[in-house]
Each structure stands twice: as structure tokens, then as C-alpha cells.
Subunit: 419 residues, 2 copies
């Protein structure tokens, strides 16, 4: 036989939510807590997808010299100004110039230099004639010659110094999420260390005496942790660095200690409600600030959030769909913003027609998983906050806003796709 | 003075492309070479974004027991079938049951057990009444009691065994790119090792005597490598594992050796054309198969591809915009498909109106970088294949198909966004 019921004034008595915050109010509080983290320096190779912390200005002209844009011959345009089919110009080939090397001499009147794409234009030359437009003559006593039967404009097929990037020009702006080509540009202007916004350090605190480690065979009345690996992947997607505390027992001291971990954000999964083993809300209220507890949404109503010594703490319901929903509405937003990313969902957004109604009520936000049927979107297991499989069978989700009593079949709605 | 011109029959003579392949023909050849790589086992924590190699069937019912869906009291519905305001039912509280633990006794007639969400339903009970609907009585000599003033349906607030995942059911299908919630589901059915498609191993071979290492200050007639970091980020985006060979000199033996690196895909940047130091096409033709050399597109016309002892080899132009374009059209597709991903571009696609024309010609594909102006899309530096900054200033690109002579201002076109 178990313990008797605790007395009514106990900390672990069964409590109801006296009042639920609206999603909008919870987001308003959350947004007052958000800022962009400091910057750190990483190599260009490690900067893909990171958020640039400062404007980047080029310290160099790229290229730093005039260069050939074609394989051909560098020459003086004046020398072939009168060349024609009937009266071709003949130039003496003085040598070659390859990329990365300088031609040792100068192109003087009547001379030319064979040049490769990207090689520096030799002194004296002012245009490049592509090799296809040149007849290569025999090598006589004075060396090889070329014959040209039309003129060329000065500067033709010559890349100007600084034509890609000019010294002093703004190359990339702070706040930009770095694309592959951005890394190329940074690498080309002597940037060995790229200033990027730090990744938020996110501590995962998965609680629940019923939990076995993720991937363990479920046995008896215990289930394997699903939220830990899901949260780790969500945090990585949103640019955070997840560190797991493993499975923390439903023990107040163990949870209190986990809440003080060295991190920017603490995600507690499970024990977020008002039941007998829901310790985290009480501990957060005791040791820090429990700013929001209970949100008018379905699922994820027993969500809490607050702060503890500068850490943002999210109390996510243990039911895995609720956990995903609370992460998506609140914790993910915080991680994205701390890391310099846009607050918006990273899901692709579309518009579709509903094949079936979605029930909700005014004053509550609903997060409805949907699949695509032959007649449009079909909601999946609206009531099943515990059924993670509704989110794997779903193609995405529809949000029913607070002011909306629900959607009818045939309504066109916004949908966010999970893929 | 440099070396004299090489004789016309030399391997390094200046050659023109005798014939360029169409983009469609190049893709047709490429697609004949593509397959899905073998699978490997990774932990659920490492499986985010990976491609599932096999159908996953659950070996367990999840949950493996009947459980409470609310905090409340587990009881026998028959006991309160006649409960009403005027004639409430009173049940004796036999004990508590928490998640992960079993109630040691049985719920007999007139009894109930306090139960927490997720805890196993005690033997004998067949419904859960939420705590909010119960009046907790005083603890008398026989222990605490509860009072209920309405009946409840059998099975109410009880989660069925296997309601999330049934033993023997198909949970996730082969070929699926694993989402965060998928990892949760796999973790909950005892999967410690997830079979995923291997990541293609991609060797980066950046050639060019003019190149300094990425991030080095450009000096004299040398420029810093931009393609290496760009390609590494592109390969990572497309699910490949990039390994860099560093900067390889324009030396036939060094390049020939790099082409034999242990990899699924070799990306050679630079020296892909028909100039004096374009060794890679000749070496690939000598040691393997040079299936395509020269493609009717702008930029990236001097692109080559082929095979060497089972490796797919891509010869990408050294000009960084051409390099990006050739990667996107050909190499990226191969890396995605080898790794089990869709062949399609990972760029977000939209439709926009052109503010300015895009010149092209029938028989050639154009890859035009565009930015968004106040009147629609504006092409950026169509001619500047060497100007990587056109791809950082651009918001995306427009493709002018082979059969199209170009677009007019006002045309609505597909655009792929870089972000």
C-alpha cells in the first residue's frame, strides 16, 4: 500500500491552474527576455549557417590586379586597330603568363603575351584577344607569331582590379545567416576568423521516474524517453548547442540542481503541471521567477517559463506532442533569437483547404497536426497529446488562433509543413 | 622570358571545346551513374536529418500498458454509475500510483487509487476521474475518501495499450529524412541503432597556382581560395562529408593522385577547361572516363564530369560563380541522390515578375543571379562569372531554359531563393 494522501497545505498537493496565460501574453513576456548573445570567432570553414555578428568590410581589392578573363593573348589594342581580313596584324609572342605568376617583361609595340584566364595582365598590355580569334603562326627566327584580322576594344576581356570586391566596401551585413558563397567571399578577403553570434547553450533536463533511456526496450510500466532525442534535434535545428543531463529523477533536489546548470536556456521536460510530482514549477518559483505557468492552448496547456539567475527556463509537458508544441511556440523562438536568427518558425508555410473541421474554442490556441488527404487537409488525433505518432504521421500543423472558435471543412488555412 | 609556345600536338596545347553537351544530356548521363549508397547504423541522437535506409516496424506496443491520461482517481465505473448531486458516491482511497510504478494491490468495489498522468491503471480499475471533478473527503479511521456526484464512462481518461504505436506496425518508411519527432518515436520503440543511408564521402580538390589558402591575405598577383570553403558548405548542406585535399598545384601528377583519393565523389575546382594548365580533363580521360566536357550553359560552360574506378568526378570551373553553378546543376544533385535525398534543389522556390530582361539564347541554359528591386527581380552581373560577390548580393537565381531565347521585363519567372 502506498503513502497516505498528503495534507492539503503540502507543496505536492494537487493544485489546479488558477489562471492560464494567453499564448499572446506568454509570448509578450518571453520577448521581453530575449536578446542576441555575444559573438565568437570561428574559421570560415566552420561558419556555414552561423549568424554574422558584425558588418564585414573588405580590407582588399579582389582581385588585387588586372587579370585576363579568357585564355588568349594579352596585347596593346592600338597595335591591331587597323587589322582586317585583307590586312591582318601580326604580333610576336613574347612569352606566356599563367595565373599566380607575373610576366617578367613588358608588352612593347608589335608584341603580345600568351595568357591564361585569371593571370595578371602584363605591363604594357591593355586587352586580351581570346585564343579562338587568333591564328597561330609558325615560329620563325624571332620566335612564334600570331595573326589577327579584326581590332579589339581597349580593356576587352580584362578584369579590373577590385571588380569583385573593393577595398573599404561593405561585403556582408551583421545579422546575415551565412550561405556557402558568403564563406567563399569571406575567405577571399583575408578573413581567418569570422565573428558570429554564439550558439545558445541549451541544457536538456528530462524528468520522469517512468522513463528508460532513449532507445532502451520498453519494459513493464516504463517507457523509453522520446523527448530527449526530439528536443536535441529541435535545438540543433534552431542553432543551439544541446547538452543533455540524462534522465533526472522526479526528485526536487535533483531537479533544483539541474536548473542551475551552466547554460543560456534550460529545457525541462515533464513534471511541468500541478500534479503530485510536478516539482519544477515550484522550484523555479522558489529559486527564480516562474513568470508563466499554464497557457491557454491545446496541447501544451501545462507549460511554464521563467528565469533563474540569467537563465531562461522552459517547463515543457512530458507528453511528447505537448512537448513539441511548447518547444515550437516558446523555447524554439528563444533559442533562435538568442542565436541571432529570426523568431519565426523555420517550417515552410503554405495554404490549403480543410477536408474536415478543426474544433477549438475562443480563448484557446490549438495546434492541430494534419495530413494531406484526397480532399484536403485532415486533422489527426486532436486529443492525443500523448501520441507522438500523430506528429510523425502528420505532414504539418495548423494553428487555430485564440479569437477563432474553430475551422470548418472547406476553410482555407495556413499550414506549416514539418519537412 | 617564359617558355616558347608548346608544339601543336602537345597535351597542353590550347584546345577549344569541339562540342558542348546540353544541360539535359549532361543530366541524363549523370542520372545513369546515380544510386543510393549503403546503410550504416547511428544512434537516434545522431540521426537527425539523415535518410532512413529501411522501413521501421515497432517491436513493442507503446505504451505497453493501460495508463492514466489525467491526474485524478482510478476507479471502477460501475461503482459510480448512479452517483448524483443528491446522492454522491463515496470511495475509499486505497493508495497512490505514480508513473513508472505499479500499484501493489487491486481496486476492489468501493475503492479507488489516486493516479498521476502516465501512471499504469491499477488492476480492477477501468476509468480515471480527473482530480478537478472530485471532492476530497476527510481521512477517517479507514483512511481518506473521495466524493463524486456524476457517473463516468468505462475507459474514460484511460490510454489504451499500444494507442501510440502498435507492435508490428510500420512506424517510418525507408527514404524518409528523419525529423526531430521521428527520433522521439524511434527512441521509444527500443531502437538504439538507426539504419540510415551513408553520407557520400566527397573529396575537394582545389587547384590553381594562383591560390593562397582560404582566409590568407591576398598578395601581389595571388588570390585567396574562395571555392574550397564554399564547396565544403554546399556539400554539408547536401548531406555529404567533405574532406579537403588543400590546394593542389597545377601539376598533372599531383592532380592525378588527388583524383584517386578514397571517396565516392571527387570535386575538382579549377583547370576544367581547355587551356594550357587545364590538366584535369586530360587526366580523367586518360585514367577513367571523361563523359561530359563542356556544357551549353552560362556560366559554367567549361564543366566536365566522368568516372574513375567507381568514383564520380566533377570538374568545376575555377571561376567561383561558375563553380557554384556547376555544383548546383550537377555535383550537388549527385551528392543528394547518393545520400538518399531528393534530386531537386534544396532552395525555396517562388514566382516573381522581372523588372528587367534576362538575355540568353536558344540552345543554352542561363543561371542568372537576381535581386529584388522595387519593380520586381533585377538580374545581377550576367557576365561576371568571376564575381562571387554577385551571388552574395543576389537573393536567388533564375534559370533560363535551353529552348528559351531569354526573358522580357514583365515576364513571370520561377526563382530559387538562396536563403
Amino acid at each position: 500500500m502506498s503513502d497516505p494522501l498528503p495534507p492539503p497545505d503540502s507543496d505536492v498537493r494537487m493544485r489546479g491552474f488558477s489562471r492560464r496565460a494567453s499564448v499572446a501574453a506568454a509570448l509578450r513576456w518571453l520577448d521581453t527576455q530575449l536578446f542576441t548573445l555575444d559573438s565568437e570567432a570561428v574559421s570560415p570553414a566552420a561558419a556555414g549557417g552561423r549568424v554574422l555578428a558584425r558588418d564585414m568590410v573588405s580590407g582588399y581589392d579582389v582581385p588585387g590586379f588586372e587579370r585576363a578573363m579568357m585564355d588568349g593573348f594579352a596585347l596593346r589594342a592600338d597595335d591591331i586597330a587597323h587589322a582586317s581580313h585583307t590586312s591582318p596584324a601580326v604580333l610576336r609572342v613574347l612569352g606566356d603568363v599563367y595565373p599566380g605568376r607575373e610576366f617578367a617583361g613588358e608588352v612593347t609595340a608589335g608584341g603580345c603575351v600568351r595568357i591564361m584566364t585569371g593571370a595578371p595582365l602584363p605591363p604594357g598590355a591593355d586587352a586580351v584577344v581570346p585564343v579562338e580569334r587568333v591564328a597561330i603562326g609558325d615560329a620563325g627566327a624571332d620566335g612564334p607569331t600570331i595573326r589577327l584580322d579584326e581590332p579589339i576594344a581597349r580593356g576587352k576581356h580584362v578584369g579590373r582590379r577590385g571588380e569583385d570586391l573593393q577595398r573599404g566596401s561593405l561585403v556582408l551585413e551583421a545579422g546575415r545567416r551565412l550561405r556557402p558563397q558568403d564563406l567563399g567571399v569571406l575567405s577571399s578577403i583575408g578573413i581567418e576568423h569570422v565573428p558570429v553570434v554564439e550558439r545558445p547553450r541549451v541544457r536538456l533536463v528530462v524528468t520522469g521516474n517512468e522513463l528508460l533511456p532513449a532507445g532502451a526496450p520498453p519494459t513493464g510500466v516504463r517507457i523509453a524517453d522520446a523527448n530527449g532525442p526530439m528536443l536535441a534535434a529541435l535545438v540543433a535545428r534552431d542553432g543551439g548547442l544541446a547538452v543533455s543531463s540524462g534522465i533526472v529523477p522526479d526528485d526536487p533536489e535533483a531537479i533544483a540542481e539541474a536548473l542551475r546548470a551552466d547554460a543560456d536556456v534550460i529545457l525541462v521536460s515533464g513534471g511541468s503541471s500541478v500534479g503530485g510530482e510536478d516539482h519544477a514549477p515550484l522550484l523555479l518559483a522558489r529559486d527564480g521567477e516562474l513568470a508563466v505557468h499554464g497557457v491557454a492552448m491545446r496541447p501544451a496547456s501545462p507549460t511554464g517559463m521563467g528565469t533563474l539567475d540569467g537563465r531562461l527556463v522552459f517547463l515543457l509537458p512530458g507528453n511528447p506532442v505537448s512537448c513539441l508544441c511548447a518547444y515550437d511556440f516558446f523555447a524554439g523562438r528563444a533559442i533562435r533569437v538568442l542565436g541571432g536568427r529570426p523568431a519565426d518558425w523555420p517550417y515552410r508555410r503554405g495554404q490549403e483547404t480543410l477536408a474536415q473541421p478543426i474544433a477549438s474554442m475562443v480563448g484557446r490556441v490549438d495546434y492541430a497536426r494534419v495530413r494531406v488527404g484526397s480532399n484536403g487537409l485532415e486533422p489527426l488525433g486532436v486529443a492525443g497529446a500523448s501520441l507522438l505518432s500523430t506528429t510523425t504521421r502528420a505532414a504539418g500543423f495548423v494553428v487555430v488562433p485564440e479569437e477563432c472558435p474553430g475551422y470548418q471543412a472547406g476553410d482555407t488555412v495556413d499550414v506549416w509543413w514539418y519537412d
